[in-house]
Symmetry: C2
Subunit: 523 residues, 2 copies
Amino acid sequence: MGARKSRAEAGRSLRHRQSVETQLAELKHRLLEIGDLNAAGALLGWDHATYMPKCGAGARARQSATLSKLVHEKSVDPQLGKLLDALEPHAGRLPQDSDDASLIRVARRDFEKAIKVPAEYVARASAFGSTSYDAWTRARPANDFATMRPFLEMGVDLGREYAGFFAPYANIADPLIDGADEGMTTAAICSLFAALREALVPLVRAIAEQPPIDDGCLHGTFNEPAQLDFGLFVAKRIGYDLERGRLDKTHHPFCTTLSAGDVRITTRVDERDIGQSLFSILHEAGHALYEQGISSILEGTPLGSGASAGVHESQSRLWENMVGRDLAFWHHFYPALQRIFPDQLGGVTVESFYRAINKVEQSLIRTDADEVTYNLHIMMRFDLELDLLEGRLRVKDLPEAWRERMQADLGLVPPDDRDGCLQDVHWYGGAIGGGFQGYTIGNILSAQFFDAALKADPEISHEIAAGEYRRLHQWLRTHVYQYGRKFKPNELVERATGGEMSIGPYLSYLRNKYGELYRLQNI
Amino acid sequence: MGARKSRAEAGRSLRHRQSVETQLAELKHRLLEIGDLNAAGALLGWDHATYMPKCGAGARARQSATLSKLVHEKSVDPQLGKLLDALEPHAGRLPQDSDDASLIRVARRDFEKAIKVPAEYVARASAFGSTSYDAWTRARPANDFATMRPFLEMGVDLGREYAGFFAPYANIADPLIDGADEGMTTAAICSLFAALREALVPLVRAIAEQPPIDDGCLHGTFNEPAQLDFGLFVAKRIGYDLERGRLDKTHHPFCTTLSAGDVRITTRVDERDIGQSLFSILHEAGHALYEQGISSILEGTPLGSGASAGVHESQSRLWENMVGRDLAFWHHFYPALQRIFPDQLGGVTVESFYRAINKVEQSLIRTDADEVTYNLHIMMRFDLELDLLEGRLRVKDLPEAWRERMQADLGLVPPDDRDGCLQDVHWYGGAIGGGFQGYTIGNILSAQFFDAALKADPEISHEIAAGEYRRLHQWLRTHVYQYGRKFKPNELVERATGGEMSIGPYLSYLRNKYGELYRLQNI
């Protein structure tokens, strides 16, 4: 009897396992289909920004919206919800950090979010986003805020409407922030930014009191193909794999993942400014290293992408700034750059070049800002966006509010809206909210991860001094990249650095580097 | 009472119209969604063939298959069938050539075809096609027919299986041929090809008896960017609109439509052979002129593409051959080409160049074949394919059958399978059948359309003599392009040329041109 009973139990257990396996396979199949549609959408976007002929824009917006709509339909399919319900007990029996448990957990969170948003909203927001974006591409060069005002009003309304699907919330921006940086809240960011601001403002002031750095050597005539060749050369040297990627030109540089074997970067080139394409290539290559470093087992699942906007940005900033604006880097690569541009750089020392690429300057445009003032740009946008969402600021009063804040924070007043509140696409491409905090979180985390890597493996510093980045890359792959979206951002930070997100390493980095560059006392 | 009754009738009629309008809108919406997914699939294909990094191939095949599967699911949705049923009476009341009647008619034919093919077959054939294609890209350079044999056997089986869904048929190839060239049958093509063959064979023989043309001037060193610039220059001059298109490099040139505003061509460049890219650009630009000339009202519907493979090919061949290999064309454009390549062409007369680009030669490779022998390549493939499908020829005996037929038709025996039965992708990319007849139908129709245009508007000849192609382009747009798929191929030919498809104009064209070039008597 005992033996027969245990055979029966074994049989039930086998049937159960088979059923779990079947369910898991179906879950993965459904998620893969969503992933494939998202990848097709990403290619439509890449092509739009690189090679699409002018007259393709109208149909392209519609094709993208069709894919978004299908992705949403498949993401909220009740069958998907039933599968996740059925797999919940299985996930509970697995180690929390196993691939399958992570997949079920993350897919569940995505599903719960998606079903709160009506399909009608998704279609409306997508269609509006394309129209608004197209209007902005014309209105910004024309300095025409009046045209964009109703679009921005709609963007604010759409942001508020989106938040409404997730009520109740402590702050109306919370659901929007959580969409980009999971686990973060308005309150947490406000207190983080306040602390950072308290340290940054005196630093910016102290630098402003010093004689300005001369960055004239960056401005000359630098042949475009040579710039691109050199940019690609350094991107490869830090580990960007071109058998699984490529570089193209665009207006607004970005990185996009079409599959684990196809992670592309783009750049823009200014022949009169050698810094433009060089640092945008290093920045996007940093994003690409992250995507290329995700474990191949996670490909085609919702785990096969970065943990959050902030963590992603930490990698672009780490490679762009901690690595690419470091003196050791240029000790190694500057001779090659001088050989390419002998007339322009032959007489410029590596120290002068290093100082030029790290010049701190109060400036109007976020994307041109240096490491130190950049965060002030972000905080200002974050605060204004919050004022708009919370109804304290009306869209019609935005240009004036922008000018006042620029004057207060950076001592500059933009001469027009083109270089004022029209400068960023973020507010003109659909629902507003949650689009800015990731940049500063990224800056903070870039230093924290870099610091942790240097402490964990002292060999990294020696390699960097020799122009090698393999060990740094390896540490980041092991502690950050490989996990994709398996862990929430705060969990990932804790695992990789042994502590919570902290502004300490970032402030030390800035104080050391800029204290030396500007010969500052007592900062 | 009368007045009340007629108001009631008017009310019913209004309700009916509203309902028809609603149904028509829903039909168009559904077809547009299918069109958008097809366009996304086309972009995946274009990118695969142009810019995709090597390691993107695996995921790309899967992404394409996912889109194909979704397109099929949406194409056989029973709701679509019900809509078409409901709209049938409405279509019957409209003029047969109205846009809406044509749309309902063509959508109905597409639907009836699609529902005969099981989704499981579509997924299986798509997945097999990618695998087979990838194997072929490696096996052809390695001259490895043994590896491809099981793939080709599967391709034959899949072709037969596809045909089976459309049983009963007069010939197993009929459903496959009808898929590419609607309305054509095996019997019709066999009799068409027999008549053409009867005239071509003596022409080829007569030419072979003449002294060969020296085409040495085409073979030198021709800088790639300059070749591409010149190719694009002539493509624009014949009417290819680059605000709605672009040219990129690829291994196997093609034209693809991503929307009415985005019709792209590709080419391959051989720096040692100036004819390669030049005529492939003119060929693909011919396809693109057709797609760009379709009435914009038809965009995003199943009517917004070419009428058939054969009609499409007629336009690529018309612009490549009737226009681009004509002496008048080169009288106009040759000086520009000489200026670009003065060392290579400065001492070559336009007549010598004209003779070189029209050299007739028995050759091994279809895609390199001249206008006269090209059709013998096609007929041979068509016949062998029929033998395979009908079971008269086994795949293992194909290499030998290929060699025998080449010897018989062109007096040449390929030294290996690479330049024999492995040379065309058509048999190694999925189900076989129906892939070749369109080329020769295209040649026949190219002359028939060109002839009709010249007869209808004598000004066309004067313009051509002046290097202008606007009137020819206009005639083709009015009589062929604008209609898209509104009419079946035979109906379109009848409307445009006033008669059925006929080999007469094509034979006259070949006899006149090559009779003069080779100074032939009595042909």
